[in-house]
């Protein structure tokens, strides 16, 4: 069985710590001018069935650091648009001797299916509304840099929790590492049953972020309006925007995070987005090292075996 990174939900605390350690180590080496390149390369398929420039660029950058080769595959302009099933696409790549897959897909669970038909590591780069593990690893690295530890922190995840894979991956990771997780947002954007998710639900921003050490904003998709889940973006901003005034409820030392792309003036205002409490740019850099560490982690054992 190949090692996969499909969901933070599947990982043990120890495994999360392993990946985080690799990420921190890599960041130190690379930013210090060193190299983490492997002598022997691997070919990784970047399968983006759903568009994403940012995540794709971060994974490409990660493969460059590791001296891995990449092949790009996107949902449109491939056989997927000719009606090929996901199963056959995965089998094709397997027999074209691709060593590992990085996969983004609009369907929750699609990477789980892919892993059943592929015989090398699969890394989930975001599946539907399920998980986005490398985002959570990068975010955890950011929190560790700013706060020193995750254990015991109060983290409020604010916004469209229902539709957010970032929320789910972050909640699992932070919960497993001992943080108190809170989900904050309007009822229409909150799962109706949260019994199997690791967090407490708050519908009111002030109580939800009260005394929190980390305020994590989620991106608001404009199409929620047409789905009838929001009456107006302005109303959302009025009730849930993180700005100087609402941030008063959080801990004075609280940091503010956002997975991007930002809707300035909606999820947070300029003052917070550009303020010293904002970690948005750190999240981008750490996202690259999280992805580098994820690839290293899924390939490490197998590559060690080869060199033996």
């Amino acid at each position: 069985m190949s090692k996969n990174l499909l969901a933070i939900r599947h990982l043990e605390e120890k495994q999360i710590a392993e990946i985080l350690n690799i990420a921190a180590e890599f960041k130190e080496t690379v930013t210090g001018g060193g190299s983490i390149a492997h002598g022997r390369s691997r070919t990784v398929g970047l399968l983006f069935f759903e568009n994403s420039t940012r995540t794709r660029v971060a994974f490409e950058q990660a493969t460059h650091y590791l001296n891995f080769n990449i092949v790009n595959f996107s949902g449109t302009g491939s056989s997927m648009s000719k009606g090929e099933t996901l199963k056959d696409t995965i089998l094709t790549l397997r027999h074209e001797r691709i060593d590992g897959l990085v996969m983004r897909h609009k369907s929750s669970g699609a990477p789980v299916l892919a892993a059943q038909y592929f015989d090398g590591p699969v890394v989930n780069a975001g599946d539907g509304q399920h998980e986005h593990p490398t985002q959570a690893i990068g975010d955890a690295l950011t929190i560790l840099e700013r706060k020193g530890d995750i254990q015991g922190l109060r983290v409020a995840i604010v916004g469209d929790v229902e539709h957010s894979r970032v929320a789910r991956s972050n909640a699992w990771l932070l919960h497993k590492l001992g943080a108190e997780v809170r989900f904050v947002g309007p009822r229409t954007l909150m799962p109706s049953h949260t019994g199997k998710l690791p967090g407490t639900v708050y519908y009111d921003l002030a109580t939800g972020i009260a005394d929190s050490d980390v305020v994590m904003c989620l991106r608001l998709q404009k199409e929620r309006m047409s789905d009838g889940l929001l009456s107006s973006v302005a109303e959302y901003a009025r009730m849930y925007q993180i700005n100087r005034s609402t941030l008063r409820y959080a801990d004075p030392e609280a940091i503010v995070m956002h997975p991007g792309p930002l809707n300035r003036g909606i999820e947070l205002d300029d003052a917070v987005a550009d303020g010293e409490m904002s970690c948005v740019t750190d999240q981008l850099t750490n996202g690259v090292f999280a992805k580098t560490a994820a690839l290293e982690w899924v390939f490490r054992e197998e590559m060690a075996e080869v060199t033996l």
């Binding site: 369907s107 669970g109 539907g128 509304q129 399920h130 049953h193 199997k196």
Partner: protein, 438 residues
């Protein structure tokens, strides 16, 4: 020469019979039932000691997929699956391609079912309530009825417009044709693909709220109450749905309902890591629903058990969960799942089990079936069940083309061993060569 099913536990709910005895079949008819059936030289005798002998089972709800979707199932493979599952009558749902909305298609189905290669069981076609199953124009139901449909249904494409449903009920009342209703408010289910609950929240999957089913059941019950048209609610899945039906019956509405084995056996937790074999509509619900659905089976609020056999080609279900079609193959696992999860656990007595699998469905649809009384059915329809056989259900070894079963690999207690329909048609995992259907 007669065929004697000897020394079995005879369970015939149509006469409240639960005795140890024998059943004699001669010239494709049940001729004698009881504890004093004589045996003559030359009779073909099956020792049924320790086995149940019941009226042939009746499935109110199966998708045989022909015409138009023979990659999923054909009438041949579907009737073979039915016979292997213990059913001597199988109702066939109208959401085929094209929909079963004209008499020529009914003739086609009867022709296919009569083929010597088919499973040798009766196919009871259910007509499309509206043309094309589109929920707008009522079909030519009188012509369909003359052609032989036993009910009309909006299965697969639930009628959303309450006024269309009201008019459909008025037509059906006049024609003395029961309606089988697929109860789902599709605005509420939206593009949901599993129960809206803790599992869908965890998996990041769009949910189908229980209210989508309950609202539609309530509407159809009230329309049935107001028009007086008998309405059979297909496969209820929530405790609220059960409660709606209970209230409607209390108010005097002529409604009945069934439940499918997966809904009284499994919960949303079975979806696990996006397992497409557990995708169906209405979706698998929660533990409290399973518990209260079982209770409703016990107290009679739920009238009977139907398979909701919905086979798909393997390639159609090797997809991400949200892209897969809704439905599960069920004809060959329904009886075992019922025995394992209800009868063996004391939810239903053996006699009640057979009532819900045979006699009641026949009564609701007014079929000449569901009884062992000599001469009461056009030909002998008898099912023999080993209630104690322990076995593992293996979906890859089924007659159905659909291998999409939620019970695949499950330990079962109880198995159909013999299905008679006219002549002997199914025994020991295969079909006999001399079967005949009159």
């Amino acid at each position: 020469m007669r065929t004697i099913l000897k020394n079995g536990r005879i369970l015939d709910p149509s006469s409240e019979m639960d005795i140890v005895g024998s059943v004699a079949i001669e010239a494709a008819q049940v001729v004698d039932v009881g504890d004093d059936v004589r045996e003559a030289d030359g009779d073909e005798v099956y020792d049924c000691t320790g086995l149940w002998i019941s009226p042939g089972l009746v499935d109110m709800h199966a998708h045989l997929r022909e015409p138009g979707e023979s990659h999923r199932e054909t009438i041949k493979t579907g009737t073979q699956a039915a016979a292997a599952g213990g059913y001597t009558t199988v109702c066939m749902m109208p959401n085929t391609t094209p929909a079963l909305d004209n008499p020529a298609l009914v003739d086609f189905i009867f022709d296919r079912a009569a083929s010597p290669e088919a499973g040798g069981v009766f196919v009871a076609p259910v007509g499309a309530l509206t043309t094309g199953n589109e929920g707008r124009q009522i079909s030519d139901l009188s012509a369909l009825k003359r052609a032989g449909i036993v009910a009309a249904s909006d299965e697969g494409a639930p009628i959303q417009n309450a006024n269309v449903m009201r008019r459909a009920m008025e037509f059906c009342l006049q024609l003395d044709l029961p309606i089988m209703a697929h109860c789902e408010d599709v605005a509420l289910t939206g593009d949901g693909c599993m129960n809206e609950g803790a599992m869908s929240a965890m998996l990041g999957m769009k949910g189908m709220p229980r209210s989508a089913e309950e609202v539609a059941i309530m509407r159809n019950c009230l329309l049935s109450l107001n028009t007086g048209c008998p309405v059979h609610i297909l496969r209820v899945s929530t405790w609220g749905a059960v409660e709606m039906v209970r209230q409607a019956k209390y108010l005097g509405a002529p409604v009945t309902c069934d439940v499918s084995p997966h809904h009284f056996s499994l919960t949303e937790d079975s979806v696990g890591e996006f397992d497409v074999n557990f995708k169906t509509t209405p979706p698998l619900r929660t533990e409290i629903d399973v518990e209260l659905v079982q209770q409703a089976l016990q107290d009679g609020t739920i009238d009977c058990i139907a398979s909701d056999h919905s086979p798909y080609a393997p390639y159609e279900v090797h997809t991400p969960f949200d892209e897969a079609p809704f439905g599960m193959a069920g004809l060959e696992s329904a009886v075992a799942a019922t025995l394992t999860n209800l009868t063996q656990r004391g939810v239903l007595s053996p006699l009640e089990t057979i009532r819900q699998l045979s006699t009641t469905p026949a009564q609701i649809l007014r079929l000449e079936a569901g009884t062992l009384k000599p001469g009461a059915t056009p030909v002998a329809q008898v099912t023999v069940i080993d209630p104690n056989m322990e076995w593992t259900f293996d979906a890859t070894h089924t007659f159905s083309k659909g291998k999409n079963s939620p019970f695949d690999g499950m330990q079962m207690q109880g198995k159909v061993v013999l299905t008679f329909c006219g002549g002997e048609i199914y025994r020991d995992g295969s079909f006999g060569s001399e079967r005949y259907l009159i």
